[in-house]
Amino acid sequence: MVEKIKKVFCALMVASLISCSSSTGEDAPSTSMAMDHSDSHDSHDSHDSHDSHDHSHEDNLDVSQLADPPTVSISGSVAETGEVNLNFSVENLELIPINPPTEHKPGQGHLHLYVDGVSVEMLHETSYVVNDLKKGLHNFRVTISTNDHREYYVDGKAISDSISIEIEEGEEAPEIDREITVEVKNGTVVGGLQRLSAEVGELVSITLLSDEDDMFHLHVYDLEVLLIANQSETLQFQVDIPGVFEGELHEAGYQILALEVS
């Protein structure tokens, strides 16, 4: 009996093994479909400008060759209650809910919203309310992403828009316990790998500056900061998990920060 079940199971496995390895081959056509689509637009794109940025990285999708690449803009205002109402206007892109997850389709996607450089939400609506902001100047940036969470790029830069809004009411920003600035230049970290030590419960501030567009990711804390070339972003958060954590750049592909929380 057991032997029989085993045999049936193995036959099943072999069958799906074969079907599965052939299905990986199907991935390629689906990405080339995006190209087909763009070609069907009678576009007068300049291939040389596109080639220079055509790094086949998985975190973005360069659509420079499209005649009408998607665009996004952001506007916002402070309500009397202290919250910020944001509005987005999107062109040449159909906004699709992120759940259930779907395959990439050209012309579809959703918005990624960053508040003070930190990713906070994925949206398929064109408005959003941000609460609980501390007193001071805050930056809001929106980017557009494919259904499979790659940022849309044009000419090697993320398609994005941002605004800064001053909050006058609200809680005073708390005091920073530890801070560090990490600068990335010419493909390496200025002054070598940067280290920041803090204790559980402290508020840390990490300022990031890169000479190229990139995405900073702090592991385990799972904080992501969208970096625009030569524009510094500051990340503030309370450390609550002990350990040593890697902070890395996704495009560049190396670690730039070690955060030690004890």
Binding site: V120, H217, E224, G243, A258
Partner: protein, 436 residues
């Protein structure tokens, strides 16, 4: 604010290391290990004790119920293997969102090793390669041919272990689900082809993971005797029943070297060396580092064995004491990967509910989050120190027991100097690595 989509982009299993232990704790532990070793040398006992403890006490005779449990576990393991393998290709092409990297690097590599040390040779029963290999054996039409020397000698088992370490620790894209999927496919297909040609009994010798886990299982208090009965005995004594061979020592040393390099690659010194490197540049640096650390580990044992052979005029010195490397290996494993298994390992339970990234929630665990504070850093620190020092201690005790079994008191004592030296090197290295 909820950071909901952030982890989708992460790569590299881990991204977290344990806090460095303080240098004075490491120094005291090292001194303690040394002291215990010297005490074990002459003071403890002059008659071999491990072999007497081998027979153990009966727990269960393993009749019908045992077979049913074994068959169920086999099927479950095979199903899991199948799910993980298919998820490599169908699931999201992302280290954190795909179940395969967690399943392979944490649950399989670390989990099975540590569980083998605790629960004995269970992997031989449930291993999907074992199940598939035996199936090939049963369905072979022609008789198996005699195996070539490279396979029959057991050295082939070093190939998967080496490639696995390279993928895990050196290759920059080694934790990509697609890379893992192709590796699993090639490995499984090669094993089954070998089983078809030479029979599974020979092909099994190339299944390096099985060989390694079987060696580790020798230190478990649980074992099965020749009548297949489940028995319990004092932990670690099982190594004295192991017949170590050249390949099995090489495999244990390779695993030890890999774990040591993983430790090296987390030190501040190495991070400074590798900063700014990515892609193939990083792969080259890591490969050199891996080879270099593995060589230090290997050469240390080789040299100690040469000196030992001269002192005892026994050519088999390296084989006689090979078993003492196993407690050291498991000590290193626990010290480096205990927290990984308990913390990052929680991702397995989460991903198992949605192995293909389709938004499923089969076991209702898909929306769970990893509890990063389930063990305190203090506990982790003591487990690290404790496992390195006790690995060392049991290695020394075994070597001591072996030597008084084989030689006169004087030769036995002499034989221990080189063994003690190599084990002190491993232990000090392990402790230094944990200071960051």
């Amino acid at each position: 604010m909820a950071f909901i989509f952030s982890s989708l982009f992460a790569h590299g299993v881990g991204g977290r290391s344990d806090l460095p232990i303080s240098e004075w704790i490491a120094a005291w532990s090292g001194a303690m290990a040394l002291l215990l070793s010297f005490a074990a040398l002459g003071l403890l006992w002059h008659q071999p004790r491990f072999p007497k403890l081998l027979s153990g006490h009966l727990i269960s005779k393993f009749t019908k119920i045992g077979q049913v449990i074994a068959a169920t576990a086999q099927l479950l393991a095979l199903a899991l293997f199948f799910v993980v393998f298919t998820a490599c290709f169908i699931g999201p092409n992302n280290t954190v969102a795909n179940i395969a990297p967690t399943a392979v690097f944490i649950i399989f590599w670390v989990g099975v090793a540590i569980f083998s040390a605790i629960f004995g040779p269970f992997w031989k029963t449930v291993s999907p390669w074992e199940t598939l290999g035996k199936l090939v054996d049963k369905n072979r039409t022609a008789a198996a041919r005699p195996a070539p020397k490279w396979l029959a000698s057991g050295w082939a088992a070093l190939i998967p272990i080496t490639i696995f370490h390279w993928l895990e620790l050196a290759y920059h894209d080694g934790s990509s689900p697609r890379v893992l999927g192709w590796s699993m496919l090639v490995y499984t297909a090669s094993l089954l082809a070998a089983a078809w040609r030479w029979g599974w009994n020979e092909a099994r010798k190339a299944e390096g993971f099985g060989v390694l886990f079987q060696l580790i299982a020798a230190i478990s208090p649980l074992f099965r005797d020749e009548k297949n009965q489940l028995k319990v005995r004092f932990p670690f004594v099982g190594i004295s029943a192991l017949k170590m061979s050249g390949p099995s020592i090489a495999i244990v040393l390779a695993a030890l070297g890999g774990t040591a390099f993983d430790g090296v690659s987390r030190t501040g010194w190495w991070l400074d060396l590798a900063v700014g490197k990515s892609g193939w540049g990083l792969t080259v640096v890591n490969t050199l580092g891996l080879v270099w650390v593995a060589l230090i580990i290997g050469v240390a044992y080789h040299q100690a064995s040469r000196i030992g052979s001269r002192l005892t005029s026994d050519q088999n010195f390296a084989l006689i004491f090979g078993g003492s490397l196993i407690p050291i290996l498991i000590g290193y494993d626990v010290a480096h990967y205990f927290s990984l298994l308990i913390l990052e390992g929680q991702a397995f339970k989460i991903l198992l509910s949605d192995p293909y990234g389709q938004g499923w929630n089969i076991f209702g665990t898909a929306d769970h989050a990893i509890n990063w504070t389930v063990v305190s850093t203090t506990v982790i620190g003591w487990v690290q120190i404790g496992s390195i020092v006790s690995g060392h201690l049991f290695g020394v005790l075994f070597a001591h027991d072996r030597s008084v079994e084989l030689w006169s008191k004087r030769t036995a004592l002499q034989s221990q100097y080189p063994m003690l030296m190599v084990m002190v090197i491993y232990t000090v290295m392990g402790l230094v690595l944990m200071t960051g």
